[in-house]
Symmetry: C3
Subunit: 463 residues, 3 copies
């Protein structure tokens, strides 16, 4: 509490220094790729009799990119506005760290995904990948929501994006693993990284802010905007970087059915675990999305609509049960304070998704996939593919991801514990007033002498 | 009132049983179609010199699908949040019954649209059709909003989806009717089905809940999110399953102009019917959308921008006048309690759309359509087409739809009247507290002793 | 104040007359273009061996159109809901004037862009252009927000759309200027037009309404919905009407990076200019978007990601500084009351964008663009192109735009000053109660005797 939370110098300096570094690195390392460069695209186009502008990858990836973009900024941003006094910070800090992470991810992923004569090539596919990596950071943000300053969040993003790129490189490039929708690389990694960070940052006296660690009526409706957008666009998310043609089409459809089944499971178990049979907004807002996470690996495979629905139903069920029974235990026994319950939405469903992916890959056969086999499993073409070893590499990928996430979260958590970032005191967690200029001092609402309350460092009209 | 509204067993059991049935039926009946199956797509692709991955229907239907998906989940869901204490239920139950209906519709429509060796083939087009059918159920939901339990809504959806598929089969497959945007199949059917259900469920003492049957300031703003998304994406809705090329392009544009003209009519008449010239949010939220409904049949035809604007202007006008003068009469004289006024938004504009479609079809000629004639009217190719009989079949389609809707609504309403579904008592209609876990008991807001009020079974913070 | 604000006749009459005029003009002047007309499309298609339905411009422009459409109706509409008592009017009047403007713009732009045998041809590209022109009107709306009646706004739209089309014609058709994302035609024009209108309509006693000219907690969250949608879809906006292929792809990507860098600058300077280091919602809501404005001209050129980030960073910086230091001066010294601060979001960044475009064009060379040069700079093909004169024409375009905007705004402002439009009195600015029917008189909220306050002509529940 003796530590100052004043951000006047720390936040601007960090933002400016980071952006200057990014600009310098982009200036020296980043180039347009073949589909975005005026010269290259038109050279290639002229050399090919059949290739025309309509075949630019823009037309096949950009609609998916925009759906993913909405999930990152509206989906994650508004999902976290459920807290009664932390709406500005939820959507605002989500905005800030996403805008930073997508730039930093472009560099880190470009570096590991393969340089072209020492340069990173960018286009719509790298934009999708950067947004994916950003999603992982935002998942971790959910665990520490309300308890960390924006400076801490930016520092966390620096480390998490870097480790994400390393882990993704190991999985996709070394193990040749399949993970188009990121059950492992995005969800499992983001969840366990964030859980470890929040464990290290454990606050024994967080109770002092518990009156703000809950929702009010309209904050829950704002959060539903986030939920519904995530739910609707998840088919685009999982299919955004699969191969063209049947894999992309199939992935979107599998995700659609998984989510639908997950939603029924969520409503069922939400009512069942409540003594009065009432539904809990926390479950609806979060667990209904677990079906998207759980088909993030197997969605591009021949999982069938039927298989997708079973996976979705399971995911919704374990997610609700996790919120009800596991989250309190994690906090009381393991000292893991998980504000948004990311373990239930991204952690367990991510692991489930990895297991489903491993099993589905091990069951793949040329009889079922025909000539499509090599379009789903890239190593078929090199002749190295066999279903059992493929399934094994998928399983090993999960283990590596868990290890990287927990180790990375531990180191990052320790760094974030340094008393230099302006973290909020225990009494001022989940409070916008600490970071946002006050409003409404002269508003009508105050004139009538109602509806305002003095809190934190700010005076807020409550509507 | 003696009847228990506790949903602890009824809702979970129904959800789980329904999902298990769906999973079993999907497992035995549903297969990937030619564009989603790994084997089939790649076989077909290899047999064709010109076909490539870029021609997978995914790239031509999926953006439309996502727009429709947003309308179903955000559009309908938030449009109904206008009630002051029913926001959770509006967006939540919309979510639940839509997630169920789209799965059930896949089966029902697949069955009637034609099996392939006893199997239902699914892909992005079936996803759009399932979302369309879901839209019809959500329209009916608007009539009974606030007066029915989620168990009742799921039961209603089971019957309505089934009858929708039968009616759609009769219109499209037997009569060869045109109805790409569903003026008849979706809007007219959904509206009159819902109106009949609410008639059968008439509550003479609904006045006891009338203090909750209205909006507050921010609930109206949430509802505008729904309105605006429906308005923006309606061009995608009407054009989502038309033929490729000029029909899809033209349908989207006709809808765009119809909606624009409708909006001006809505503002004009909303001010005109008010003694002080003030605008009514109910009109803006709903009547401004009637223009999309009213070109749902003729939109793919050569209606012209000019014709679309006339239709849109008329639709907006009758919709506002309906809200002002007809809805009160329907309630007092015909005992139809129509919470959202679906008769004004979907009922009358749907009938108008059917009539406009019939007239426009009867006026079609090879001179105007050229070789495009058979792309709009499928039966041109079989030689059976002539404009007058075509127009006649369109008119008969309307009559059949009205009959099916009213009959189906009657039966369904009687089934829903059974006292086993935990329907809310007359004093507790339009009240989230009955179904949703309370919040905010320990919130800051209560600490200051303001801003909360004990209502129903729950304690809600009012913000 | 003696003047009546009753809109019962004025608003309906104006809306109906305008719509009737539009319908008559559309009926006599507007035709489907080659891609939307059943006859023309199918004739052209049959004459070409390679052209098929998939090449209809619909599939390459419509996703961009829908993103732009969302920006116009949700983006602009909700961005302006930040005022505590003007949410209905912000989103509602935005809806009204946009629905009118897009129809009127279709005619005006069609007239100037070139008639086809005396007819205006419409399709998805004209829809995008009409939405663009509408955006310009909505920018001006931001300057006069809260101080003008809907009748005034419609009259303003009539004149502004017309002048927009003239200015656009001069820039694009006479000067051959590049301005795909409209730094000049849309942002600079809309901003300085609006600033001049609000200058002419200067209200010395606006202080009487200043208690309503501010936000409250949830109104700021609604505004963030607008902000985030504008931010996410700006890449689609800037690239919506560029040439197919690399230019469209590149424009989207440049905008993406510019916005990301702009966001970091916005957070940095927002904290830096506040004594306590707190962030200001006004900055986050607005200045974070300036990066999209500032690459509206150069975005389609080979600006590079690196260049885009520098431009974005500068734009965010000047925008925040403008809000903090310039806006108060404009009001006190120049009597420009700019409700939304459009000078900071659209004015200065628009001018910056024009300058960047001019410089980037002057630096263009065949070495960098290869065969792509003529796809960015149309006059290369005619042999008239040279980079210096191109850069010069870009600069002249900015000057012409400023002149047209200021002159047009002056004339329009004078017309709007006539006391016949039902403008709000100084004491009733920023007040929904003047135009919108009251709600909640019988609501629960009033029953508990809290939460309501009598204001203006209406009784509003405050939630």
């Amino acid at each position: 509490m003796a530590e100052s939370t004043n951000m006047r110098l720390r936040l601007p300096l960090l933002c400016i220094i980071l952006e200057v570094i990014l600009i310098v690195l982009f200036g020296t390392l980043v180039e347009y790729n073949d589909d975005t460069d005026a010269k290259l695209w038109n050279e290639n186009r002229n050399h090919s009799a059949t290739r025309n502008d309509h075949e630019n990858e823009f037309y096949y990836r950009y609609p998916s990119f925009q759906d993913v973009h909405v999930m990152i900024f509206v989906g994650f941003g508004f999902l976290m506005t459920f807290l009664q006094r932390y709406g500005f910070s939820s959507v605002g800090f989500n905005f800030l760290i996403a805008a930073f992470s997508l730039q930093w991810a472009t560099l880190m992923q470009g570096f590991f995904h393969g340089l072209h004569h020492g340069k990173i090539h960018v286009g719509v596919t790298s934009m999708i990948n950067a947004d994916f990596c950003t999603g992982s950071v935002l998942i971790s943000f959910g665990a520490v929501l309300g308890k960390t300053s924006p400076v801490q969040l930016l520092v966390m993003a620096i480390f998490e994006v870097t480790l994400f790129a390393v882990n993704e490189f190991i999985l996709l490039s070394i193990f040749g693993a399949n993970d188009a929708g990121g059950s492992m690389t995005i969800h499992t990694f983001g969840a366990y990284f964030g859980l470890m960070v929040t464990r290290v940052l454990y606050r024994p006296n967080l109770d002092k802010s518990k009156h703000r660690n809950s929702s009010v009526y309209h904050s829950d409706l704002f959060a539903m905007i986030g939920t519904i957008y995530l739910w609707m666009f998840w088919p685009s998310f999982n299919s955004a970087i699969t191969n063209y043609g049947d894999p992309q089409h199939r992935t979107a459809m599998n995700t659609y059915y998984s989510l639908a089944a997950c939603t029924l499971a969520t409503f069922a178990f939400s009512a069942l675990v409540n003594p009065e049979g009432k539904l809990d907004m926390v479950h609806i807002q979060n667990a209904a999305l677990a079906g998207g996470v759980a088909v993030g690996t197997a969605g591009e495979m021949m999982l069938t609509a039927f298989g997708s629905m079973i996976v979705g139903f399971l995911a919704g069920t374990i997610s609700v049960l996790g919120y009800k029974y596991l989250t309190p235990v994690l906090e009381s026994k393991l000292k893991i304070q998980d504000t948004c319950g990311i373990h239930n939405l991204h952690g367990m469903p991510g692991v489930l998704g990895a297991v489903v992916g491993s099993v589905t890959a091990a069951l793949a056969s040329p009889e079922v996939y025909g000539h499509g086999l090599q379009r789903v499993f890239a190593d078929v073409e090199t002749g190295k593919w066999n279903p059992q070893s493929k399934g094994g590499f998928q399983a090993i990928s999960l283990a590596v991801t868990l290890g990287m996430a927990l180790f990375g979260g531990l180191i990052t958590g320790l760094i974030l514990k340094l008393p230099i970032y302006g973290a909020p005191p225990d009494t001022q967690c989940f409070e916008d007033g600490l970071y946002w200029e006050k409003y409404c001092e002269y508003g009508t609402l105050m004139d009538v002498g109602l509806l305002t309350t003095k809190i934190g460092g700010g005076m807020f009209g409550l509507i």
